[in-house]
């Protein structure tokens, strides 16, 4: 009877893990990335308020970008990314991409260089946050990363053990014996 109880317990645990990943963890990650983006938006606001450039395009454009990221963070999944890239392949919009890129650059060119660099670094961090979010909510990432980490650990251990063999006194004994036996 306890075997059946253990089997059922394992089954419920598997279902619980699935629910945890696709509902609870995903909601947590959305809240987390939004929280980090709000922090960056506040930093941008502080820099612009200190420099008295709140009404300049540099602040307006960067704030609207971060607002967009915060608003649509829940849509950012691996499936969405694949679908969007596929759509982009069939219907490329280089003019709009270029205009969006130029909009930021021109807005930042109109302010002092050190302030522009500080704002640009915040925007870059926001992009990194979005990529991190995309990876961490994706089951594909976790399915790929776990074997990759295991392979890396085994590879590291292997090279570590080989180096360890050189330090052992008479570590060449195995090699010498195999040379003798092999002839």
């Amino acid at each position: 009877m306890m075997t059946l109880a253990a089997t059922l317990s394992t089954g419920f645990a598997a279902l619980g893990l699935w629910i945890f990943f696709f509902w609870l963890y995903r909601d947590y990650r959305i809240d987390k990335v939004r929280q980090d983006l709000f922090r960056l938006r506040d930093e941008i606001w502080d820099i612009c308020a200190q420099q008295q450039i709140l009404d300049r395009p540099a602040h307006r454009v960067l704030r609207s970008r971060l607002n967009g990221m915060i608003r649509f963070a829940h849509r950012l999944t691996f499936t969405w990314w694949v679908t969007a890239v596929t759509v982009e392949c069939f219907h490329p919009t280089p003019e709009i991409d270029e205009r969006h890129r130029r909009e930021v650059e021109q807005a930042l060119e109109s302010i002092e260089t050190d302030v522009a660099d500080a704002l640009r670094s915040r925007l870059s961090r926001a992009h990194v946050l979005m990529i991190e979010h995309l990876a961490l909510v994706s089951p594909v990432f976790w399915v790929c990363i776990i074997p990759a980490v295991l392979i890396a650990v085994i590879g590291f251990a292997w090279s570590g053990w080989a180096a360890l063999l050189d330090r052992i006194p008479r570590g060449d004994l195995v090699d010498r014996q195999s040379a003798v036996l092999g002839t």
Binding site: M2, L8, G16, N67, R71, A84, R99
Partner: protein
């Protein structure tokens, strides 16, 4: 006629004049909406199908193998009886993780609710402070509790 200019006051090249760009933008918005919809359907399908398959193969089928012989009540009664009778930690090893998991989930849920209460309480002050310095301040348009708006859900 004056040249088209962007918000920073720079002249725009001829090929990026607003009328042509607007058509492109509408097209992009439509495709973006379609991509979001497809992704949403696929995501929902994947997570619900997975949940059903896990429930079927990890819970229902093992239980069906004993259909007619053992019921959930039998298992529950057996586990409770063993917990009371056996001095060994065996049954407790099975039950304790579940108690801890349920407690952890309840704790996390209460913490999350508390955090949202704090967001709701503080966001209005922050909004008023920023609005005073910058009347044209824009918003992320999340709800006062920091949730996604209903109309932004796919």
């Amino acid at each position: 006629m004056a040249d088209a200019r962007d918000p920073a006051g720079h002249s725009l090249p001829k090929e990026t004049k607003p009328p042509a760009l607007n058509r492109e933008e509408i097209r992009l918005a439509l495709w973006s909406k379609t991509a979001t919809l497809i992704a949403s359907v696929l995501n929902t399908l994947f997570k619900w199908t997975g949940a059903v398959l896990v429930a079927r193969y990890a819970i229902a089928i093992p239980f069906q193998s004993l259909a007619g012989r053992v019921t959930i009540a039998d298992v529950a009664i057996d586990v409770v009886a063993r917990l009371k009778a056996e001095p060994s930690p065996g049954p407790w090893l099975l039950v304790t993780p579940w108690i801890l998991t349920v407690a952890a989930v309840l704790y996390a849920w209460r913490q999350r609710r508390l955090r949202r209460d704090v967001i709701e309480r503080q966001q209005e002050r922050i909004r008023r402070f920023e609005q005073a310095r910058d009347p044209d301040r824009t918003s992320s348009t999340l709800t006062p509790r920091g949730d996604t708006r209903q109309e932004d859900l796919p």
